[in-house]
Symmetry: C2
Subunit: 213 residues, 2 copies
DNA sequence: ACACTAGTTGACCGGTCGGTAAAGTGCAAG
DNA sequence: CTTGCACTTTACCGACCGGTCAACTAGTGT
């Protein structure tokens, strides 16, 4: 038998809070979402939030961990193993992002852009803890990009002396910029319109670090 | 004689408010800066702010206009006419941005990133007025980029069939992304490290719209 | 001398912010 | 049956938010 339900697995308020925080903060922003609103959406009283989390910042940190885990599982991993060839993988990635932004706009009425980039921009200057956590997630994304580029080098699609580490970071930067533009436009089509820039960047990078001076 | 002092040109509270709002909002963010703090820095009482501006949003709109005018005069115009050749102009632009971010970090202790991009990300989802104003300024920046690219086409540095309109938008997107990364790092060196991506993007764009399908 | 007006001042508003404290609830192990 | 503990509930806190208001000050034109 051993019903392993540790207590009695009622509503799992902790999960509800994380879900509500994700939907609200990703859809709008950190400061514009209050804990009262998060609690209301989660169907949980404010005091309970402070039983599970020390405060709003810690809740957001935990939410970001879960968000990255889902992003890795649903986009990064499939995009890496899914298509064949660098060009096809870039296009698949762009379309996955486009689909995400389109779905979010349909659900919440707003095109959110990149959840991690948004937080980095909003809190980067005055919350070092959040900033460093986001920086870590962005590094993890870069590592996935790099492994895609390394495979392309092995398959002869990119020159053998390609600096895949630097190029992966440029990939992420361009992707973040595309999402800033799409958010300014509030139009997912911007993702598709600017997507080809990724192909240009990733298939024409200079052979080796110029080693200036 | 005709001392043209319309009233008596005392402290010009309006200018002081715009200056304070610029320093604070650019250095941090829109929501994290209150009008009380803006008034305190400007040496003006709160009621006076509402004599010159309908509210915080209108003050920010006016501040953004002045900010863009300065950016155009101090960076965009010199960068366009200053150096010779596309490559040199890109590098001059990157270094101008790097200098700005370095100076801001020295003055306020924080690396702000792109003031327009920041506002677009922070307010893009829930303040259409601000979003549209920022979108207008970004379009103006894109127009300057495009004229640089058009000159490069005329000088034979880029192929004659280059889509300079699309490429200028990609330039802006990559620049915004670079500044998001620099803000996440809180390190101006990131601007220089990612700067070469602009050269890759702008000197290897595909000849013509692929015209798929 | 007077009225007009641009600009200033400080007190005040309701609402919301993140966070706290204390009492209560119900299950489970002793 | 009782104790302990995970969790919930409610009331409350001071601080701050953007914004309003009426009274006041001081130059200007008549």
């Amino acid at each position: 038998m051993e019903t392993t339900t540790p207590h009695h697995t009622r509503h799992d308020s902790r999960e509800d809070l994380l879900k509500a925080a994700r939907e609200l903060i990703v859809g709008r922003s950190y400061t514009s979402v209050g804990i009262a609103e998060i609690c209301a959406r989660a169907g949980v009283r404010k005091g309970s939030l402070y039983h599970f989390f020390p405060g709003k910042e810690a809740l957001t940190l935990a939410m970001l961990d879960a968000l990255y885990a889902d992003f890795e599982r649903e986009v990064l991993i499939p995009g890496l193993a899914g298509a064949n060839g660098l060009h096809a993988r870039i296009e698949a990635f762009v379309h996955a992002i486009h689909a995400f932004e389109t779905r979010m706009q349909a659900e919440s009425g707003q095109l959110p852009g990149c959840p991690f980039g948004n937080l980095a921009v909003e809190m980067g200057t005055h919350n070092p803890t959040l900033r460093r956590a986001i920086r870590g997630h962005l590094d993890a994304v870069t590592a996935h990009f790099r492994s895609v580029l390394d495979e392309a080098v092995q398959d002869g699609e990119l020159p053998g002396d390609t600096n895949t580490e630097a190029l992966a970071e440029q990939w992420l930067a361009l992707m973040e910029g595309i999402l800033v533009m799409a958010k300014a436009d509030q139009d997912p089509a911007t993702v598709l319109r600017l997507g080809p820039a990724l192909v240009t960047l990733l298939t024409h990078s200079p052979p080796e670090v110029p080693h200036e001076r």
